[in-house]
């Protein structure tokens, strides 16, 4: 079915652009098709790999060298320790969020999540009856006093030295106490087989991306800890088109905007814009800060105003 529709669109393309380019397109199309057929005929020759930016690729087995994969224990050991000397913080500027949801897509792509599974969720908020509604992206708050890690019976969720709260889905027993304990509803559970289990099944478990996901275990936002190790910004931060997210190191007092790549002082940003944390009265000490939704240059287009699911 898919091949047919792609051929149809290709025909339209041919008419509008011209035969020579079109012919090249067809040729490359056929060659891709041929490669796909060849791969289908010899499935044992290729393996699925997750690239560092979260893309799944197929690689010929002959091209693999034996030293490439790090042993599981080593990945988990360094994943549990965290990145020395860092203290990661996120700042979310609510005055810029217009519900583009690119962060949600990028996150779901990175962490093997279905569209209804959210490590980060853009909520429509309204604080009181007559206050203005706004959009609020809500990742895990990576609390410094995390209620979730406290209640875990097996140390499957834990706080690292760099402030990130992670999950070890090789150890999680699926009791879901952490879901009950989290006041931010930041955690999800793999109720069924996760998305595309076949694609991911040969991957070595990376605790810093929580991929592959496993049935019967917990998952949640990890601040893209695997990307941080390579000095990249988290998936959601990088993918935002509206400059909502800043991410950085509190020890350096510097946060970088994922859209503009501008680096600013964290303390100044928070001070000048009256930054705050969610539900500070709960004593969780979040590492995610919010800048209030003031001076917005766009209309609130959510359906919140006439919905009963107001807060």
């Amino acid at each position: 079915m898919k091949e047919e529709t792609s051929n149809n669109s290709r025909r339209k393309f041919l008419k509008s652009v011209g035969i020579s380019i079109g012919a090249a397109g067809v040729v490359s199309g056929f060659s891709l098709l041929g490669a796909a057929k060849a791969a289908a005929q010899e499935p044992r020759e290729t393996v699925n790999l997750l690239t560092q930016d979260g893309q799944l690729v197929q690689v010929d087995k002959d091209q693999l060298r034996p030293t490439v994969t790090e042993p599981l224990t080593e990945l988990q050991k360094r994943g549990r320790e965290g990145i020395a000397g860092k203290s990661f913080v996120m700042v979310i500027d609510l005055s810029k969020c217009r519900n583009a949801r690119k962060c949600m897509d990028a996150c779901q792509n990175h962490h093997q999540l279905r569209p209804d599974q959210h490590h980060i969720n853009v909520l429509q908020m309204q604080d009181a009856e007559h206050t203005a509604p706004y959009f609020m992206p809500k990742p895990c708050q990576h609390c410094d006093n995390p209620p979730c890690t406290k209640v875990c019976p097996v140390d499957a969720t834990f706080k690292r030295q760099d402030g990130i709260v992670l999950i070890d889905n090789e150890r999680c027993i699926g009791c879901r106490f952490c879901i009950a304990a989290c006041p931010y509803s930041a955690r999800i559970f793999q109720w069924t087989e996760p998305k595309d289990p076949e694609k991911y099944k040969d991957l070595t478990y990376n605790i810093e991306a929580n991929v592959p996901q496993k049935k019967g275990t917990i998952s949640k936002c990890l601040f893209s800890a695997d990307r941080l190790r390579e000095d990249k910004l988290p998936s959601c931060v990088s993918s935002c088109p509206n400059g909502v997210y800043y991410f950085g190191d509190q020890n350096e007092d510097a946060v970088t905007n994922g859209t503009t790549h501008e680096t600013v002082r964290f303390s100044k940003l928070i001070e000048e814009n009256a930054g705050y944390t969610l539900m500070p009265e709960l004593g969780t000490k979040p590492r995610v800060y919010y800048l209030p939704p003031k001076n917005r240059a766009f209309e609130f287009n959510g359906d919140l105003l006439n919905e009963e699911n107001l807060h």
Binding site: V151, C175, A181, I188, E193, K215, G216, T217, H311
Partner: protein, 446 residues
């Protein structure tokens, strides 16, 4: 009324007591059918659990927001019922209240069955039951789950001991009297009677041990229910985040446990024809006890709902409105009225403390107690601090699936099977203690 047991006393000899109590253990009428029925239910429901194991917890109605559902509510109910062992044989036993003698073993049997199944229910709720051993390998003692595992196993152990130890003299009698029983059971009686022949020194040591256990089970019994409440109270959620949840759960457990005992008493009295032992007096006394524990529970309910209801703090307000007048109102009010308030009013009257009426009232109390656990667990999860958005419809509404209900039925069938088997192989009314109580002299031969 007070002179009723003394009148009966004249009719009873040790031989008659022995005969009356051992008779149902030898008579198999209808038992096979009942056990076959339970086993059928168990195997059908075991298949449901197999489906859950194979496909994941997604076969239940639970989703990311209501992540604890029927199973956890049922777990709390089972733990609650099991507290009857501590209430009857320990608290009342330590106070040397002797009318409990004939019903104390039924209480212990119920306690053992329900706490054992409670442990199983929690495993059935796990997403990865294959990793249950991680709790031992990687156990963190900061987690209330570890405390729960500890107290449940301790409570089960002490309850088993409190079932078996006071039974030693009776088992010595069983060993001697039940000649026609199966060789396995003979061996069981032989081992568990520990060569007891009721010498003064044996009697003294046995009662010392029982007394020690009766004292030990008081803190453990309180702990098991308090810790179960802490699974909820240790979170930051509206409706669970209260300081009285521990004693509230304990009070509720006494109500549920006493109700289960009354139902059990009625069943064994009628089915085992033990009218001479489990008398109207026992139902009358249990009725009065029920009023007492229900009043305590009512007091806690007032505190739990009236105080936050008076303030209507943000967060609590949605939760309480949903309970009082919203989606959960029918379940909430029926559990409060049928499971607590109406029973108090009825049981104050003597005629409702007769065996049949009080048994029916107790069934309502049990049902109310079960519904109450459901109302404690689920609505809170539907009212988190932040709005539930961008998720499918079934994340926002919870209703248990057929698989979930079947697995819950499994737990009830298993508890009933354990009770059936225990009541079949062991005398449900203590033979020697009853004789002791009535001042009848007896000998146990080796």
């Amino acid at each position: 009324m007070n002179d009723l047991p003394e009148q009966k006393e004249t009719n009873l000899s040790f031989e008659k007591i022995k005969k009356d109590i051992l008779r149902p253990m030898q008579n198999h009428k209808g038992l096979e059918l009942w056990i076959a029925f339970l086993l059928t239910v168990l195997s059908v429901c075991a298949w449901a659990y197999y489906v859950q194991l194979r496909d994941g917890l997604g076969v239940t109605g639970m989703r990311d927001y209501v992540s604890w559902g029927l199973y956890i509510a049922n777990f709390v109910f089972f733990v609650a019922v099991s507290l009857v062992g501590m209430l009857i044989s320990s608290i009342l036993g330590l106070l040397r209240i002797d009318w409990i003698t004939p019903i104390s073993r039924i209480a212990e049997i119920i306690a053992v069955a329900f706490v054992a199944v409670a442990g199983l229910v929690i495993v059935m709720d796990m997403g990865r039951p294959d990793r249950v051993i991680n709790v031992m390998i990687h156990g963190r003692f900061q987690s209330p789950i570890l405390w729960d595992v500890t107290v449940i196993t301790t409570y089960l152990t002490i309850s088993l001991l409190l079932l078996i130890l006071p039974m030693i003299p009776d088992l010595a009698i069983c060993k001697k009297e039940l000649k026609k029983t199966s060789p396995i059971l003979k061996k069981v009686y032989n081992i568990l009677s520990f060569g007891y022949i009721n010498t003064p020194s044996q009697h003294k040591h046995l009662h010392k041990m029982i007394r020690t256990l009766m004292i030990l089970i008081v803190p453990v019994g309180l702990a098991i229910h308090t810790v179960t409440s802490w699974l909820f109270a240790s979170t930051l959620r509206n409706g669970w985040d209260t300081t009285i949840l521990g004693p509230y759960f304990v009070a509720g457990a006494f109500v549920a446990g006493a109700a289960a005992l009354i139902v059990g008493m009625y069943f064994f009295r009628v089915n085992y024809k033990l009218q001479d032992y489990i008398t109207d007096l026992h139902f009358d006394k249990m009725g009065k006890l029920m009023v007492a524990v229900c009043l305590v529970y009512l007091y806690f309910n007032l505190n739990e709902f009236l105080v936050p209801g008076y303030k209507m703090k943000t967060g609590d307000d949605i939760h309480l409105k949903e309970l009082f007048t919203g989606h959960w109102a029918i379940m909430f009010w029926s559990s409060q009225l049928l499971g607590n308030i109406i029973p108090i009013i009825l049981l104050v009257t003597k005629k409702f403390r007769k065996p049949l009426p009080i048994m029916i009232i107790s069934l309502f109390i049990l049902a109310g107690a079960w519904v109450k656990r459901y109302v404690i667990v689920i609505p809170t999860l539907l009212h988190p601090h932040l709005p539930i958005q961008n998720v499918p419809e079934n994340f926002v509404n919870y209703s248990p699936s057929a698989i979930e209900i079947s697995v819950t039925v499994f737990s009830f069938a298993l508890a009933l099977l354990i009770i059936t088997v225990l009541a079949k192989i062991f005398p449900v009314v203590p033979i020697c203690e009853t004789a002791d109580n009535k001042g009848i002299k007896y000998k146990i031969e080796a």
